[in-house]
Amino acid sequence: MADTVQEFVFNLTFPFTRTLGSTLSTFSSALAQGQIIGVRTGGRVIAPPLEYDPDTAADSGTDWVRVGPKGTVSTWTWVPEPTNLHPLDHAFGFAFITLDGADTPMLHLVDTGSESAMAAGMRVEAKLKAPADRVGRIDDIIAFVPAADPSPSEGAGEPFVAPEENDITEMDAYCDLQYVDNASPTTIMWAKALMEGRIIGQKCPQCDRTIVGPRGMCSVCAIELDESHIVEVPGRGVVSNFTIVTPTPYPGQTETEPFARCSILLDGADAVIAQQEILDVPVSEIRVGIHVEVVWAPENERSAADIDNRSRGSGGDIIVGWRTTGEPDEPAARYLDRMM
């Protein structure tokens, strides 16, 4: 059916701030000042520093050491086509680079312009962002580039004296991933019925329960249900549970005032549909037992775009919400102790 979306693209994007702890704060604060440091622990200098010695799990301590800015490539690879997560938009290398003064390598980018320039043993040096652009994150080093002068770095291996208090104690990070899901046969049946103004469920032949919306299975009996188990249920039912959400601001939250989301047990159904909105009852008067009926969007305004595999039982943009029928409430006790 042309109106039913078969594939959904969604982006998982969220920012967050990490606290760094004392070791990484020291590293970050020094890096923002243009100094790369390591920590001497267990007889070797680990750079970038770790809070613990990976061999012994002992506290790495605060024996800071200046390392780099030059170093030597050991193992390397080449990224011919960078992704959106890579810091450079042209082909580049990744390498283990043992900085002068360090005993363990750092993983970082090597920007040579060509794969043929990459080699184990090559001398490289860190190319940093301008001081004003540095935030104390590992990508303050834009990349390593072939060293103009292969001689040892000046001052590498010497002690680094950390300030009493670090300038940088947090780090901004982000998640930016894209997913492409495809509508399952069950999701397609549900969306198609909604577009036609019908609410459907599946009736389990084993336990006789009618589950709305269809799940492609009976989640009591653990058996597969398919198109042959589809039944239509009326767009009328009773509020069986609700919650009032007081919105807190976060990226993507459009609500500002408290709102109610209700579970509705449709007539003839054995499983509720959840997260439904009652259109004509103030939040303070929402209660269990109210009779409601569905409010469809006008046919020419219906879209199945929001109905994906994750929103089982959701009416998307096709069901606007639910309104009261005016019938007397059912006793709330009838809806206690439901598990679905």
């Binding site: 050991s74 390397w76 990070a173 069950t186």
Partner: protein
């Protein structure tokens, strides 16, 4: 062997056909794989004392997907259930430990991964060290390639050796009805391909696979009610190394695999068949050496992880394939291995034996 009440065996294994892109959900896949294994051993689901799954929300892009997946177990009345955000092989390990408590006889472990929703070139960046790796967009292919280059530079292997691993696994996969990538390929033909991450070519990387699998474990004599020749787990161990490959002393070997293999008693006798989870071709070479296998062991007759690689399922399939060598194929002592994390960070080794 006469089992004691503390001996635990794999008694059933079912896997769904691997697909590059399924139109089913993870819950659908769990339902189909668990129903099949339950039918295979001939029990009612109410006889299962513990159910545990391995899956990852980030793969399918759905928060709490493992909760929705439990619909497939039929949890009325409530069941004893658990989940690991790891491969189903690690779920199997939890089921094994749970059975050792001695109060239940049957457990089920499931692995499920709808991998096709996400992009393997970017997805794993979010699972790496958030301070030193993630901001650089460090990807799983890059880390593998750095390990592969180190292996070549150490003189232990060549790109031709990598291609030979691929050609052999794909040829083995021809006789596996559950293989996604199979066929006859010449090494020269493979070596003519471009690099994705020098020195790795597309064929050195794992395929993208949607799949689910399930095993049933049973304790003591109960195993014989479910299976004629159970695959008794005689050793199992899981070891972990530092997350950052840069602080490991030598990434051309796998210390955690060697330690796990020793603890699982791999060397106590000959291993007839080993099912090794090497997501990248060259890692099979590292793992064979670290497991201490010699030429007498047949490695990956299924085609291994290069034939189908549903992250969260592939390790459990190694367990199931190795168990089936005992249950169905008359082998006496087999090994299953699974790995997780960058550059073989974590490794689980499971040794199974049949009654003789």
């Amino acid at each position: 062997m006469a089992p004691t009440e503390n001996d635990i065996a794999i008694v059933g294994f079912a896997q769904l056909p691997p697909e590059r892109r399924t139109n089913l959900t993870e819950s659908d896949l769990v339902l189909r794989s668990t129903r099949e294994v339950i039918a295979q051993v001939g029990i009612d689901k109410s006889e299962i004392g513990f159910t545990v799954s391995g899956s990852c929300d980030y793969l399918s892009g759905q928060g709490f997907s493992f909760v929705q997946n439990t619909d497939a177990y039929g949890m009325v009345p409530a069941i004893n259930e658990s989940h690991v955000e790891m491969d189903g092989a690690f779920a199997m390990y939890e089921a094994y430990v749970r059975l050792l408590q001695g109060d239940i006889d049957i457990a089920m472990a499931v692995g499920v991964g709808k991998n096709s929703n996400s992009d393997p070139s970017t997805l794993f960046t979010v699972e790496f060290d958030p301070y030193y790796l993630t901001p650089l967009g460090t990807d799983t292919w890059t880390l593998a390639a750095l390990q592969a280059r180190a292996l070549i530079d150490s003189g232990k292997a060549t790109e031709r050796d990598f291609a030979e691993v691929v050609a052999r696994n794909r040829a083995n996969a021809k006789s596996n009805p559950f293989a996604q990538v199979k066929g006859d390929y010449s090494v020269d033909e493979l070596l003519a391909a471009d690099y994705v991450r020098n020195p790795l070519r597309r064929h050195d990387l794992p395929p993208t696979t949607d799949q689910a699998a399930a095993v049933i474990l049973a304790r003591g004599k109960r195993a014989y009610d479910l299976c004629e020749r159970p695959a008794w787990i005689t050793g199992i161990d899981h070891r972990i190394e530092a997350h950052l490959p840069t602080v490991r002393k030598d990434i051309t070997t796998s210390v955690s695999t060697r330690l796990a293999a020793e603890a699982a008693g791999v060397g106590k006798g000959p291993i007839d068949v080993a099912e090794i989870h090497a997501p990248f071709s060259f890692q099979e070479l590292i793992l064979r050496e670290s497991l201490g296998l010699d030429a007498s062991t047949e490695v990956n007759p299924s085609g291994g992880a290069l034939a189908a690689h549903s992250v969260m399922t592939v390790g459990l399939i190694r367990v199931g394939e190795a168990a089936n060598q005992i249950i169905k194929n008359g082998k006496n002592r087999t090994l299953a291995h699974t790995t997780s994390g960058p550059c073989l960070q974590q490794n689980l080794v499971c040794v199974m034996e049949g009654d003789q």
